[in-house]
């Protein structure tokens, strides 16, 4: 009786009581729900931003789609939840989202103290500085007593302070609350330089009236490995997230693309056969369909395709692969063997 009353109250309050969900693994919860709930940012062009129809597009969004494809065989079974800097970790801790794919830097303290774990790095970023060409500066070390525009990030300001302390340089930090103001202040000459992650600097440069007037300085003053995060103590779910990402990377290495994945099913290469589920039963070990790898690539393509489509040289961001090239092409993108 008490139970019945409680559930009525819960329903009346709009509670989504998931029964005895405490014992359920994330995979079971996701499967029962019929879709993956993925935390992304609201509007970061190239990583996660709505298109005209309100569909989330971008690099981070495609990581979500690849995980959904691994679980359901359909990359569209994702519900995107826009999170902001303040709520992103809490949303993960409380179970509101299953995965956080939101340009989040993998750091020691986040990993150790927030009750979450990180998957493989999907994007190697780093903080840089951009200046107008007319300033005649070719290295960050030549910036003396410069005013530097930035956003009130948690680490951005600290990194720049650390950098200038190390070289005994002086600078003045000019902090803006919104990205629009920040950018406008830099264009209008309020600051000599602007600092942010290099991927972000590229997008700031791309929207300038004349992008050729600005250069990104060669120094990378911090390491920002961006990785998807999930709740800790659920190894099965962690494996699914990690291997979905590695599948993208392995597919690029093996030359499997969204377009040729059907032909590759008949490939003679034993690695490709295992990845696409033509032989052996790797998917079962993760609690997934045996064709999970095929589904991932069919939905979003391989890592290179995801990169080029969202942030690559053909897009407004125009990023080169740099450290995000495959390991055998001089980059850091390396997948453990899928066997």
């Amino acid at each position: 009786m008490k139970q019945a009353l409680l559930s009525i109250c819960a329903a009346a309050l709009g509670l989504a009581a998931a029964g005895s969900a405490s014992a359920a693994t994330t995979l079971e919860t996701v499967k029962a729900r019929g879709k993956l709930v993925c935390g992304v940012s609201l509007a970061t062009p190239g990583f996660a931003a709505p298109d005209d129809k309100g569909r989330m597009q971008g690099f981070d969004a495609d990581i979500c789609r690849s995980i959904a494809a691994a679980v359901f065989g359909d990359g569209d079974k994702v519900e995107f939840v826009p999170t902001n800097i303040n709520t992103r970790f809490q949303a993960l801790q409380s179970g509101e989202i299953d995965v956080l794919s939101r340009q989040t830097t993998h750091t020691f303290s986040r990993d150790a103290s927030l009750g979450l774990d990180f998957g493989p790095t999907v994007f190697y970023d780093g903080q840089g500085l951009m200046v107008p060409k007319s300033l005649g500066v070719s290295s960050a070390k030549e910036l003396t007593e410069a005013a530097i525009c930035t956003l009130p990030g948690t680490t951005t300001a600290q990194n720049i302070s650390d950098f200038f302390r190390a070289i005994n340089g002086k600078f003045e930090l000019v902090v803006f609350e919104s990205p629009d103001e920040n950018r406008a202040a830099f264009y209008s000459g309020r600051c000599e330089a602007i600092t942010s992650d290099r991927s972000d600097l590229a997008s700031i440069r791309a929207v300038a009236n004349n992008p050729a007037d600005y250069i990104v300085l060669p120094e990378t003053i911090s390491k920002e490995p961006l990785a998807p995060a999930f709740r800790q103590n659920d190894s099965q779910w962690g494996d699914i997230v990690s291997w979905s990402v590695w599948m993208l990377m392995a597919a690029e290495e093996k030359g499997i693309t969204q377009a040729n994945v059907d032909e590759k099913l008949k490939s003679e290469d034993p690695d490709v056969q295992r990845m696409l589920g033509a032989t052996e039963e790797l998917g079962k070990m993760l609690g997934l369909d045996n064709k999970w790898g095929y589904n991932v690539i069919k939905s979003v393509g391989n890592y290179g395709e995801v990169f080029e489509r969202n942030v690559g040289e053909g897009t407004k961001l125009g990023l080169t692969r740099g450290p995000n090239a495959l390991w055998n092409a001089g980059g850091l993108i390396y997948s453990p063997p899928i066997r």
Binding site: A24, A49, G54, V81
Partner: protein, 364 residues
């Protein structure tokens, strides 16, 4: 006294010719006034010229971001292309007729309910058993063959309106009860009401929203989550009710004690006295501050963006950051937001003046 009031309330007589000349001399009568008037006219013409130039003459009406980049005027293709996203956010594109219909229904029902002639118990019941459920079903789906849409996909204008409209409608009765409790003779009830009101008024709305969205889930048992939208909505209701209670209390204090005593001597019990004698007089007096509060809250709902709900201002911001338009259409986006917020705030203000007038004439 009555004569003076009657005079003050008499409809304005058409001004005689001399008085109309007086209007001219009010603006240009003295050198000082002339300078102020001329300066104002010059300023108005200057601003109007700038605005018209930017809005129409130099504006781009068709094309892409590239065309807007070189033009100095407004970029209307941005608004045309992004309007649907700004209005409805992440609501599934094919289903966006539903929030549109819900919005129109809400506006229609509000306009109808704003006319005092239609006020009745039946209208109140219609709101509770028909209009609000229909709105919810339209938005959430799941029955009558409508695809279910999770509240995390709600966004834009419907979300902003729902948060402020439902919030204030539910906060109003709660606030009145709180005000009565605070004026109560029973110490326990009075202390509880004072405690609640002072605690809520002692912290900013942001902190209550943070408590509701960030802290509360951590206290809940595993597997039980309250919808984020519901949490924010409840936070707004509680917050608004404390402020409404204080405004209503001001009105209550203005009602002479003799009114209550007169009611009691007629044999009416407490609730009858309150409902039929005290509250009608008290509420009538507090219409202007109440509407001021409502307008403020309508705009304060934009704070929900910091707890990760995508309200109208947030969808506008997201639209501005689209790579195709980034850095090009910032002003246009905020102008759309400002126009929408201004329109509805101005409507509320106008309605408040109408209500004041309405009650003054019928009760004078």
């Amino acid at each position: 006294m009555a004569d003076i009031q009657a005079l003050a309330l008499a409809p304005p007589q058409p001004a005689p010719a001399a008085a109309r000349m007086g209007k001219f001399s009010a603006y240009f009568g003295t050198p000082g006034n002339t300078i102020i008037s001329v300066a104002s006219i010059v300023a108005i013409v200057f601003v109007a010229k700038l605005a018209i130039g930017w809005l129409f003459i130099d504006a781009v009406f068709a094309g892409t971001g590239e065309a807007c980049k070189v033009a100095s005027g407004a970029c209307w293709p941005f608004v045309a292309q992004k309007l649907r996203y700004m209005l409805f956010g992440f609501y599934p594109y094919e289903e966006q007729w539903r929030p549109l219909l819900a919005l129109l229904l809400l506006f229609g029902a509000c306009l109808f309910s704003m006319i005092p002639r239609f006020w009745s118990r039946a209208l109140l019941i219609a709101w509770i058993v028909v209009i609000l459920p229909v709105l919810y079903i339209l938005m959430a789906g799941g029955v009558f063959g409508l695809t279910p849409v999770a509240t995390t996909s709600w966004g834009g204008l419907p979300l902003s309106f729902m948060l402020s409209f439902v919030g204030l409608t539910l906060a109003l009765p709660l606030g009145i009860v709180l005000a009565l409790a605070r004026a109560s003779n029973l110490p326990a009830i009075r202390v509880l009401a004072v405690g609640f009101i002072e605690i809520v008024r002692g912290v900013p709305l942001i902190s209550i929203l943070f408590m509701a969205t960030v802290m509360l889930p951590l206290f809940m048992p595993d597997g039980v989550t309250i919808d984020k939208l519901v949490r924010a909505q409840v936070a707004i209701i509680l917050f608004a009710s404390a402020y409404i209670a204080e405004i209503v209390r001001g009105g209550l204090q203005d009602v002479p004690a003799g009114q209550v005593e007169a009611g009691k001597s007629l044999g009416l019990h407490y609730w009858q006295v309150m409902r039929k004698i005290v509250l009608p007089q008290a509420l009538k007096k507090v219409i202007p501050p109440m509407v001021g509060l409502f307008i403020g809250f309508f705009q304060d709902t934009t704070l929900v963006t910091i707890v990760g709900l995508v309200d109208f201002l947030d969808t506008v911001r997201a639209a501005i950051r689209d790579p195709e338009w980034q850095g090009i259409a910032v002003l246009e986006g905020y102008l759309v937001a400002a126009a929408v917020y201004f329109t509805f705030s101005a409507l509320m203000g106008a309605y408040s003046r109408f209500l004041e007038k309405h009650f003054r004439t019928t009760h004078a």
